[in-house]
Symmetry: C2
Subunit: 198 residues, 2 copies
Amino acid sequence: MAEDRRTRRTRRALADALVELVLERGFSALSVEDITERADVARATFYSHFKDKDALFARVTADLLDGLGRRLAPSVAGSAVGFTGKPLLEMLRHARDERDLYRIVLRGEGDGKPLQMFTDVCAANTAQEFRARAERNDVKPRIDAELLARVWVGEQVAVLRWWAESETPPAPAEEVVRMLLDLALRGRYWASGFDAPE
Amino acid sequence: MAEDRRTRRTRRALADALVELVLERGFSALSVEDITERADVARATFYSHFKDKDALFARVTADLLDGLGRRLAPSVAGSAVGFTGKPLLEMLRHARDERDLYRIVLRGEGDGKPLQMFTDVCAANTAQEFRARAERNDVKPRIDAELLARVWVGEQVAVLRWWAESETPPAPAEEVVRMLLDLALRGRYWASGFDAPE
DNA sequence: TCAATAACAGACAGCTTGTTCATTAACGCA
DNA sequence: TGCGTTAATGAACAAGCTGTCTGTTATTGA
């Protein structure tokens, strides 16, 4: 009952073609024919798999999120301690492996809808994690968990983007994590080089 | 030598129609005719002003940035002190006044290009501000100014979006500024409700 | 008032979309 | 290996959108 090899091959070809072409010309500049041509697939075949360009992109993004989730699962499970930065590190590695796809998603290609999928999922998980942590340690957050999660994800997205768009890696993943963690935990004054945090 | 009243009227009508329609249906779903119809302008006239949809959107975004710059000028000039949050407050107010436009830009409509314009300008200014401040106070930043700026702008964009998308204002601008400033300066541990920042 | 010019409606070829159909080829399974 | 099932193909279609050009009309600023 495993998926037919032909469908797997075409879907994979279409997905790869999409990523390549979006990177080259931008999502809105592409026609379905551009994609099928690059993928070496008949145009009619495209429509037997996806409603339109956006559906293909949405599917590709959803798969990316699945992959990320699977990679993150172990490091999230063992994070009862505090802000270790392990999930962030895993995310950076994922972005290294799927660099092109990360680039087009983070750029907001597709009217920002894939990016929204991405941030919404991350923010929801993060917020839940925050709430769970607060509960476990019996502390009351001084800032709404939802807002806190949005801000944290906003930071991460900014860093991911900077990281994925740089031609030569500006810093090893471990160092980026350290910097961001220092910044997040110790505050901006510290990061700017000042000593007194008030 | 002032601009012809007709062109002013037409451009304004097109800009307003664009914002309305993007909010309703999304940028990629719009045809030029949709826009001209809503603006009550002949289709041919559109092309005598703009090359295409994207050019119109780019123009609207550039104007928004102009307006923001003009509003920010006074508070940036007087910020020799430190992180006062005055620019952020002014930005939130600007977002309140131009809510619809902010929403579509921050969503990443137009394949994220307007949003990129927005973040690039903000990040460039912020980075320069960071560098100037470090120079004035003769301190050495512990984190690269460029990265620091990207992270800070990433936060701001996340908050702006949350703020602009909420149906009923979730909090007054002043309070949002206070929260974000506390978070930025005192760090995540503090925000989460913990006492010891290490 | 008048010259300049913006706005207009209409028409144009060329391209993209999404669908349908009959035909061919690849697949999984027994 | 052979067989029934199903995916892929290429061609054709109407409908819609794009970008450009036309001659004409209406508004504008001086």
